[in-house]
Amino acid sequence: MSEILRVENLTKFFDTSGGKLHAVDGVSFSLEKGKTLGVVGESGCGKSTLGRTVLHLLEPTAGKIYFEGKDITKVGKKELHKLREDMQIIFQDPFSSLNPRMTVSDTIAEPLILQKKLQKVQIGQEVEKLMDTVGLADRFANAYPHEMDGGRRQRVVIARALALNPKFIVCDEPVSALDVSIQAQILNLMQDLQEERGLSYIFVTHDLSVVKYISHDIVVMYLGQLVEKAPSVEIFRSPLHPYTKALLSAIPKPDVHEKSKRILLKGELTSPINPKPGCRFAARCLYACDRCHEPQVQKEIMPNHFVACCRAEELMTGTLQDG
């Protein structure tokens, strides 16, 4: 399977008054062409920063990014320009990701106008075709964003992202602001587009049921660190990292009979500013030991199943020696 994107040890720090905010800290993963990688984690775990850093909307502090085998970590303006046609982004909030002063057709045509390849008439036809693919009725061509509801607005955002015919799209919580029935329509639309156009997605969300449905592989993040990566079926069947276990057990299942036994975490998120080395979940982890305070290494315990936890094997085999 050819690899469309590989990220090695990607790091992004923000300087804040209180010190260095470790938003993304040494994350590595790869994405197959035509596949979807789910990035899941709670608020503040750096999943949105990761998505934006890959697209160079934020400059990475360290680490390497390879797109179709080419190193694009340091890239000139012209090359970035070309790159932007292959990589696009979809945002969460349908209200703030559309310019309130531009009509739907202008918004979708904007990338094509900037590309300066097509004439005005061709752009018009292309916009109609795009509106059709995302299921937007033609009569919305002249509508303004505040005249449409969340679902339709998200379809405009998707149409704009598809305008340059990209190969890879970062979806930053695209359905979190939508109702369940509309959410299902958008998820189906994104899957159809993936099949038709061979798109690959990085799908960032905090909603575990959505990520299980749409992604082939899943990455779980906690406070900027990648704690576990595995195929989606694998992660839900046998999670290895204590945080992933707690996260999965916390999802309320719509099943009346099988009342799930919950692992309740103690305490609250620790601060991402100037964090201590080692595993950042140690403060809340039931199995924490002093080995957890050394930097954790991503180990491939099972085929294609990586975990960054020194006690992962013991947990898996149930042979817990104490600390």
């Binding site: 696009q88 982004i89 969460q92 009569r139 005249e147 509801d149």
Partner: protein, 291 residues
């Protein structure tokens, strides 16, 4: 959330058309708009419609109370107050509009640099604005007038430079707010250059608060300019500027009250109209409001 009428199609409505439709709903704003239009017409047609030349001295009718010949009476030199008020509208409108344009230009320039580039540039400009704004408006204006000298154009300059800082702060705030929006990140993601982002994405959304502030600003500028003239720093003697008319009429106030009442009334009506229009525009220009 705007519930969409599912059936009829969306005809291409211009931004201006939508704003006017929303403005029409607000009665007070319409009152303001009508008065402003009347004032503008008076200002433009001043020479045509004034019964007497503003400088003509009817020596036979000094300090005459309002009567048939002089609808609003005459001042101590026998000049017809109505004609002077009408011509004064032209002066005041000119002062108000030009000084606001100057202030808005300076403010937008400084504010957009601070807003768009941020960082140290933003800090320096903001500190400068802090110092600039710690001098009360009228005090700064008076000091500028002293330096620039008397006369109408100088007071336009003085008022413009003084009120510049309000626009700068406002433009910087709205640019920063718009810059934080995701559709700016989306524009960067589809290869829009800095120029395109500023012109097509930032400015149209940062403009509406500017329009509102300029509309209200005209009223404020007229107020400040007439104050300058009142203390003798603005328009000089023969010019029928409302402020200087008030100053002139002050010593005759005891017996001929009407000399003092009408110019002040004109200033108030003018400022009131622009304030009403400004309030109405603020609601009409807010994109999130339902139609």
């Amino acid at each position: 959330m705007q519930s969409v009428k599912t059936n009829q199609s969306m005809v291409k409505k211009s931004q201006f058309g939508m704003v006017m439709k929303r403005l029409a709903k607000n009665k007070m704003a319409i009152v303001g708009l009508v008065i402003v239009i009347i004032l503008l017409m008076i200002a433009v047609l001043a020479n045509v419609i004034i019964p007497y030349d503003y400088g003509y001295q009817d020596t036979s009718a000094l300090l005459q109370a309002p009567c048939a010949k002089h609808l609003l009476g005459t001042d101590n030199l026998g000049r017809d107050i109505l004609s002077r008020l009408i011509y004064g509208t032209r002066l005041s409108m000119k002062m108000g509009i030009l000084s606001v344009l100057l202030a808005a230009a300076l403010g937008t320039f400084l504010g957009s640099i601070a807003g768009y580039y941020g960082g140290i540039v933003d800090d320096i400009i903001m500190r400068f604005l802090d110092i600039y704004q710690s001098i009360p408006g009228l005090v700064m204006c008076v000091a500028l007038a002293a330096v620039l000298g008397h006369g109408l154009n100088n007071s336009i300059l003085a008022v413009g430079i003084t009120t510049m800082s309000g626009y700068a702060r406002m433009i910087r705030g709205s640019i920063m707010q718009v810059k934080g929006m995701e559709y700016i990140e989306a524009a960067v993601a589809i290869n829009a250059g800095d120029r395109r982002i500023i012109l097509k994405h930032i400015m149209p959304n940062a403009i509406s608060p500017l329009i509102v502030q300029m509309t209200m600003g005209i009223g404020g500028a007229i107020l400040m300019a007439s104050t300058l003239s009142y203390i003798g720093l603005g328009a000089q003697a023969p010019m029928p500027e409302w402020g200087s008319m008030l100053a002139g009429g002050r010593s005759y106030m005891r017996d001929y009250g009407f000399i003092v009442i009408f110019p002040g009334l004109m200033i108030m009506i003018c400022v009131l109209a622009f304030n009403l229009l400004g309030d109405g525009l603020r609601d009409a220009l807010d994109p999130r409001l339902k139609d």
